[in-house]
């Protein structure tokens, strides 16, 4: 498999290159959806990381001290909502800017 690696790499480069050659001369590419997608993907991914960290700590705390369930739930849900709202701010900005 290893000796085919250069072949695959060349093929990959060609795959990228052919649409680029074909596009030259046509109208400008609309980058708005790509930008919106990248922005939303960044926001959603990092929000997932943050929420995962928060939930993991909450689960650990619950395993150590099951008695603290009530208070923990409130702060977990509150924290998740506050983290999530940052992603939703991104969504709103995208909705405002993308027509």
């Amino acid at each position: 498999m290893r000796k085919f690696q250069p072949v695959f790499m060349v093929l990959a480069v060609l795959c990228c290159a052919i649409p680029a050659f074909a596009d030259s001369g046509s109208a400008a590419i609309n980058l708005v959806p790509i930008g919106a997608g990248i922005g939303m993907a960044l926001a959603a991914g990092l929000c997932g990381l943050g929420q995962g960290k928060a939930t993991a700590s909450a689960c650990e705390a619950l395993a150590r001290n099951p008695g603290a369930r009530g208070g923990l739930m409130i702060f977990l849900i509150l924290g998740l909502a506050l983290i999530e709202s940052l992603t939703l701010f991104t969504l709103v900005i995208i909705l405002l800017k993308v027509k």
Partner: protein
């Protein structure tokens, strides 16, 4: 005039002219002078009427020996919001429980109306959450002024150290006004996004699968109503707490 629900058309037929002239007296010019009442507003009125009817029924049929189902539901809601308020605001929460319960029930029913196919949830238009966030802001500031007096409450904004007040005052003011924005956008964006999600999957597979996302929509509705109530309580507790922070 855009497509609207039968209820909206009925309300516009009855009150459209009066509402338009009232709005024009206030200097607001609605986009459709024939139909100034939007779907969201008509549904809000419907939800408010239903909630008032529910409370009237509960009040008229209160009984210690034979509580009816409506009373059971009302007691459940009362216990739930009371327990939450006790945990967060602490001593003397009873004064504020009426407001937070109203907020909770109103947001919850406004969100859940969106589960009916073809009916947009009122909270998916940004005006409705804004109309809930501004009274919340005014209410907690009013309660703060009442609980601590004007001087005591304004000291909150200045921070703990007097010679840092010039720096902290603008920051605190901005963060307080940002609460309106964050309350509004959180509710609006969550409801709008979950609506869009259902719609997106409906356009992909129009049978069966979207009902799963209706379940998700119901879950999001409940969670967002809960969070709106929770944040109201937290803001209240920060405003009325007597400890220096």
């Amino acid at each position: 005039m855009p497509d609207s629900l039968a209820l909206t058309r009925f309300l516009n037929h009855l009150f459209g002219g009066v509402v338009t002239s009232l709005l024009q007296m206030l200097g607001v010019h609605p986009a459709y002078p024939d139909a100034p009442i939007t779907d969201a507003f008509a549904l809000e009125l419907l939800v408010a009427a239903c909630l008032i009817a529910f409370f009237v029924v509960v009040r008229l049929t209160l009984s210690v020996e034979k509580p009816n189902p409506a009373q059971h539901i009302a007691e459940m809601v009362h216990d739930f919001t009371g327990g939450m308020a006790d945990q967060i605001i602490g001593h003397g929460y009873e004064k504020y429980q009426a407001f937070v319960t109203c907020i909770f029930l109103f947001v919850l029913s406004n969100n859940l109306v969106g589960l009916i196919p073809g009916v947009p949830a009122p909270t998916t238009s940004p005006v409705v959450p804004l109309g809930l966030a501004i009274p919340t802001f005014l209410y907690y500031n009013y309660q703060g002024f009442r609980a601590q007096g004007p001087i005591g409450y304004l000291k909150h904004f200045a921070g703990p150290i007097w010679w840092m007040a010039w720096l902290l005052l603008p920051i605190e003011l901005v963060s307080h006004f940002a609460r309106i924005m964050s309350l509004t956008i959180r509710l609006y964006a969550n409801m709008f996004a979950s609506d869009m999600l259902t719609l997106g999957f409906f356009s992909l597979i129009p049978i069966g699968i979207p009902s799963i996302f209706l379940g998700l929509h119901a879950f999001v509705s409940v969670i967002q109503a809960f969070i709106f109530m929770l944040l109201t309580m937290i803001y209240l507790s920060l405003a009325v707490s007597h400890e220096a922070h």
